[in-house]
């Protein structure tokens, strides 16, 4: 069934744009391979947090440079994403460490009871790396949207100051925010439906649910994706405005010399 779905997706992507569709499809395959490498490295015992941070960096490189091309927009996006990742890693670490969402809740016992639990790998770190990888897609999306829109703004009004550029970056970000939170919420709800049905069947109360390990793990994961998305907006506006203006200045000096 997945093969047929994949074929349909491929055909649809080519229908939208032949060259870009093929490129996108292959970048997804590449991302998949990298994801599996991260999984594999984590499983054989490398430090999960370092693995996932490196993985996130490579994944953003692929999405930005391979799909969107190497230019000032993607460069500033990459810098902003790195800043967000570094800032968030501490918050994620603290949150996972405190809320003990590592491992599996009662709801997954059926799924994992065929395995031995003696695996000698700390699942707290696995939980952190899981959150890091899941937020990268949404963060890259928001970042590239802001930086390319900001570049268009600059191209049309070259006299804008840093402050004006930064503010228009934030304004663009606001529009993205609304739709992005929706995409994330529903992706989460789709995943979450089984769990909700389970909660209903077990007559969980609201208080039971918000203390439940499986729920908390999912909720914290999606919240961090959204936080990454929100945080990247001002940072990208700042970095992009700075680098565009710097490039603009260099260009004018160059023009005068000519």
């Amino acid at each position: 069934m997945n093969k047929i779905l994949m074929l349909i997706l491929f055909i649809l992507m080519i229908y939208i744009d032949r060259k870009r569709g093929v490129k996108l499809f292959f970048s997804l395959l590449l991302n998949f391979i990298i994801l599996m490498i991260i999984f594999y490295m984590t499983a054989i015992g490398f430090n999960p947090i370092i693995c996932s941070l490196l993985g996130c960096f490579i994944i953003s490189l692929i999405i930005l440079y391979f799909v969107n091309g190497k230019n000032i927009k993607t460069k500033s996006s990459l810098i902003s994403i790195c800043i967000v990742l570094i800032l968030l890693v501490f918050l994620i670490f603290g949150m996972t460490y405190l809320s003990r969402i590592a491992g599996f809740g009662y709801e997954s016992y059926e799924e994992i009871n065929m395995f031995s639990y003696d695996v000698k790998i700390d699942f707290t770190e696995i939980a952190i790396s899981l959150i890091l990888i899941s937020l990268i897609g949404a963060t890259v999306d928001a970042s590239i949207a802001v930086s390319s829109a900001l570049y268009e703004v600059y191209e049309n009004n070259k006299h804008l100051s840093f402050k004006e550029l930064y503010q228009s970056g934030i304004n663009i970000g606001r529009d993205i925010l609304c739709t992005n939170t929706n995409t994330l919420l529903f992706a989460f709800l789709g995943d979450f439906m089984t769990l909700v049905i389970w909660f209903y069947k077990g007559h969980y109360s609201f208080l039971d649910v918000i203390n439940n390990k499986t729920f908390c793990a999912e909720f914290i994961r999606i919240l961090f994706s959204a936080i990454g998305c929100v945080m990247v907006i001002p940072i990208t506006s700042y970095v992009t405005s700075k680098s565009i203006l710097k490039l603009g200045k260099e260009k004018t000096i160059f023009d005068i010399k000519d």
């Binding site: 047929i4 779905l5 349909i8 997706l9 939208i16 870009r20 996108l24 991302n31 998949f32 994801l35 999984f39 499983a43 994944i59 799909v67 918050l91 809320s99 003990r100 969402i101 590592a102 491992g103 709801e107 997954s108 016992y109 994992i112 639990y117 003696d118 695996v119 000698k120 790998i121 700390d122 699942f123 696995i126 899981l130 990888i133 899941s134 937020l135 897609g137 949207a145 529009d175 609304c178 739709t179 929706n182 995409t183 919420l185 529903f186 992706a187 789709g190 995943d191 089984t194 389970w198 069947k201 918000i210 439940n212 909720f219 914290i220 999606i222 919240l223 959204a226 945080m231 907006i233």
Partner: protein, 357 residues
Amino acid sequence: MISKVLKKNINMIIFIMLSFLTIFFVYHDDFLYSKEIMKITSIKTEKIDESQNAFGLKEKYYYQKIKGVITNGKNKGKTKTIEYEETYSSVVTDKYRVNDKVFISDHDIDGLKRDIYIVILFIIFIALLYLIGKYKGLLSLLSVVLNFIIFCIGIDLYFKGINLLLLCIVESILFSILSLFIAGGINKKTISAIISVMVSVITLLVLLLIVVYTTNYSGIYFNELSFLTVPPEDILIPELFIGTIGAIMDVAITISSAISELIEKNKNISTYNLNKSSKQIGKDIMSTMSNVLFFTYLCGGLPIFVLAFRNGYSIYNYITTNFTLELTRFLVGSIGIVMTIPISSFISIKIFKRGAK
């Protein structure tokens, strides 16, 4: 001077005070729970044991005596000692520390009291949303909350015997009307986006049903859904469906606002040029949106992969079993996104062009 600063930041100050009050309240809300809650005062590790699994991995077990004070119910104030077995990996156990609040039932620990952390993170999120998105950000939060309530009502109705797929279709229409009106107000843009969402949703559903009936779920591994007593096939399609709606709405509103912008800037723009521009916008959305879904869905399998791998299963084994469901979710979501691009540009152009005449 000070009063001026106060006046300017009055919202901020109220927000900060409210957050602190909420956190304080949640930290002391033990009386709300009917389950007994114990605050851990000391943890003593009695014995450390090692057990070896079939693959030579040595796992450490810590046998602990956890002492604590009960903080609610009729035994409030009494101390209690519980024996607990903690593991290094904490696959199914938790690592408790002094000052943690845990639920207890008889002589077992029933899990950590996590509500405080959820609340703190949520407050951080709201603060960021407000700082950057101002009222628009808060509005998007409102639509998220309302959607969530509709979702829960839907599940409630499902247990009263209404078909889940039917519910999801009705819900999806409600979701799109609600979130798009909240995000964009009542105007032509939103209406054209809503119509696009409905058409795309129905097309996607028909496509999905055709694929499902021709392949009969071949190659899909349902283990993840197996704990429900409901047949997994009944859940899968609604689940896929709900997971995609957000992305479809996102694409539809982006395209319809772009087209309205184009027509506003140049009233005499030809349909040919509109088509060309909307295709250009579609291309840009396609690549980033599919990446969002890719990582939100596919990395969810990491913990189970690690567990399976360390139990001697191979990557190939994982990809053909546990992974298939996540992959289906991603594929259906992406198909939804890519399909919505031409549908919503066609509908938006029709609606705006008719209005222009």
